[in-house]
C-alpha cells in the first residue's frame, strides 16, 4: 500500500521525515488534520479510558474535547486570578499528587504553550522535569508557537508536540503537525497489524492536497520568520504599553513574551453604553480607521495579536484607539 509521507515528488518524505523533525527538535513527525487531531491521536495511543489528563487551566477547549473523546478525566492546574492568569509549574506536581492520593491514574501532562487567551508562556522546562520524575509523557500544545517563535521540543523537554498549520504556519487549513520522541512515537505511529505499512492512529493517511502543499510552500518563510521573534516580543510590549497609557490594560504575563495579548478596558465598556450601535462601536470605529482583528461586539475585554505588524502599523493602530477614545470624550 501507498504511504503519503513517503512520496518523493513533491518531496513530502523529506519534509515530513527530515525538515519538520529538525524544525521541531523531535524524532518523528506526521502531518495531521490539525493540532486538536494531533493531541487526540497522542492521547488515544498513550492513555486508557478512565485515566486522567493533567492540563493547565488556560488550555484550549480542544484539549478538553480530545481528552473527553478518549474517555479521560481532566485534572486542571488552575491559573492564578487576573490580571496575571498565571500557571505555576509546581501546580503540575501538586495536581499529580492529588490524583495519586485519590487513587486516580494520571496518564499524560499537557501544557498549552502559549495559551490562546492570554498568550502566557509557562516554564515548560520546569514542567518537563516534573513529568520526568513522575514518568509521565509531556505534551506541548504549540498551536500558537510552532511557526511563530523558535521552539524545539528537545530544549523544552517535551515528549510530544503539536502545531497548527492554519493558525501559525501559513497553511491552508485544516492542517497540523504532530511530533513525538522515539519513546512514544512507536505507540502513536504504530503500524496496523492488519494493513501493511498503514499507521493506525492516522487511519493510514491524513492530509493530502492543498493543506500539505501550502504548508510545504510556506515553510521556508515560516522557518525564517521565527528567527525574528525577539522583535515581535518587543513590538508586542511596546503596543501593550501604548494601550496601557489609554487605560486599556493588558492581562497575562507582564512584560509579555508573545504577540497574542488579552486586554481589559472599563473605559471602552463605558463608551459602549452610550455609543451608537452600542458595543459594536469599537469594531466599527477601528474598521473605519483601517484596523481589524478584534472580534465585533467586544469592548470590555478582547484579545489581539501584533504578529508581523511593523512598528509603524502598530503605531497607527494605537493612534486609532486614542482617536476613538478622544472622539467620545
Amino acid at each position: 500500500g501507498g504511504e503519503m509521507d513517503r512520496i518523493k515528488n513533491p518531496p513530502i518524505e523529506e519534509f515530513v521525515h527530515s525538515v519538520l523533525p529538525e524544525f521541531l527538535g523531535i524524532d518523528q513527525v506526521r502531518v495531521t488534520h490539525g493540532a486538536r487531531e494531533g493531541m487526540y491521536a497522542a492521547m488515544n495511543a498513550l492513555c486508557r479510558p478512565g485515566q486522567t489528563l493533567v492540563v493547565d487551566g488556560n488550555a484550549h477547549y480542544t484539549t478538553i474535547l480530545a481528552a473527553e473523546r478518549c474517555g479521560l478525566f481532566i485534572e486542571y492546574v488552575p491559573a492564578s486570578p487576573g490580571p496575571d492568569y498565571r500557571v505555576d509549574p509546581d501546580g503540575f506536581c501538586q495536581a499529580i499528587s492529588r490524583l495519586r492520593e485519590a487513587g486516580e491514574t494520571p496518564a499524560m501532562v499537557c501544557l498549552t504553550y502559549p495559551d490562546g487567551n492570554y498568550g502566557n508562556l509557562v516554564d515548560a522546562r520546569a514542567v518537563s522535569r516534573i513529568c520526568d520524575q513522575e514518568d509521565l509523557p509531556f505534551m506541548l500544545n504549540g498551536a500558537y508557537s510552532v511557526g511563530r517563535m523558535p521552539i524545539k521540543a528537545s530544549e523544552m523537554g517535551a515528549d510530544i508536540i503539536v502545531g497548527s498549520g492554519h493558525k501559525s504556519m501559513a497553511s491552508s487549513g485544516p492542517i497540523g503537525i504532530l511530533g513525538a520522541s522515539e519513546e512514544y512515537a512507536s505507540s502513536i505511529f504504530r503500524k496496523s497489524a492488519l494493513k501493511k505499512n498503514k499507521e493506525v492512529e492516522l487511519l493510514g493517511c491524513t492530509v493530502r492536497g492543498a493543506g500539505m502543499l501550502t504548508m510545504m510552500a510556506s515553510f521556508a518563510h515560516v522557518a525564517e520568520r521565527t528567527g525574528h521573534y525577539d522583535q515581535e516580543v518587543e513590538n508586542a510590549r511596546w503596543f501593550s504599553s501604548r494601550l496601557g497609557e489609554m487605560g486599556i490594560i493588558q492581562q497575562g504575563d507582564r512584560p509579555h513574551n508573545h504577540d497574542l495579548m488579552f486586554f481589559k478596558s472599563d473605559l471602552l465598556y463605558e463608551i459602549s453604553m452610550k455609543a451608537k450601535k452600542g458595543r459594536y462601536f469599537l469594531y466599527r470605529d477601528l474598521k473605519q480607521r483601517g484596523v481589524c482583528g478584534i472580534k465585533a461586539g467586544l469592548t470590555r475585554q478582547f484579545k489581539l495579536s501584533t504578529y508581523l505588524l511593523t512598528r509603524d502599523e502598530l503605531s497607527a493602530a494605537a493612534d486609532a484607539f486614542q482617536e476613538i477614545i478622544d472622539s467620545y470624550a
Copy 2:
C-alpha cells in the same frame, strides 16, 4: 463557543443541516475530514473495544484501520472467488451467527457500497433487513457512490452513511460527510459535557476553509450529475463490452452497475514480457494516445473509471487499447 456548522454567511448551516440531509436521505449530517474519519467517529461512538465489526470482504483498508483504531475485531463476510468477487447479503447473517455462537459481540455492520476495487454493488436493502433483525447499526461506506449516483440512506435502510468529498463530490480534499439517523446521531454527534455546544466526536469542529467552500461550490453540479447515473452505467457496460472483445475481461458484477471497474488481461501481461520498458508499456502507450487513469506498471489487472466520459471519449479510449494490442501483434 462558536459552532462552524451554524454559520449563516456563507450558508454553511443550511448546507449541513438541510441540503446534505435531504441529499443523503438521513436525519443528521456533519462534515468530516474524509470518509475514513467519518467511519471512525461512528465506530468510536457506537462500539466498545473488544466488540466486533462485521464487514464485507471487499472493504477499503480504511474501514479496517478505523476498526483497529477503536480496538474492534473484524469479522469478514467473504467475497466469492473471481471473476465475480461477489458479497452475498446472507453472508452477513452467517457472520453474525458465527460471532454470537463464539460468544463474541457484533457491534456494527459496515457495507462498502460499492467497493473500491470491483465497483460491486451489494443489495444493501437486504443487508439492512438483517441488521434490523439483529438490532445492529448498519453503516454504508459511500465513498464511491455519494455524489456519483443517486443514493438515499433511507431507501437503503442505512443508519449511518459516509461519503468522500475529494473522491466523489468534486471537493478540495481532505473532506467527507457523515450522516446518521436520529437513533444513532444522538450518540455520534453527542455534545461535550465540559465545553458548551461542542460535539465530542468531531473535536468541536472539523473541516474549515477550502474543503468546505469547494464542497458547497460544487454541490449543485454534483447533485445534478447523480441524475444521469443511468447513462453512466450504460457507458460503463458498453466500455466493458468493447474491452471484453479484446480479451481484457471485466471482473465483478456483470452486467456492471458502476463506473468503477476492474479488468484482467493475460494478453496485456504477455505483451509486457517482451515490450520495451516492460510492464510500463501500457501506461506509456495509452498516454501517447491521450488516455490516462490506469496506474503505471499495471498490465495483468487494473482498475479504471468511465465516470463523466462521453461515449466518444470512451470509444477513443477503447480504440487506443485496440491499437496498442495490434501494434505488438
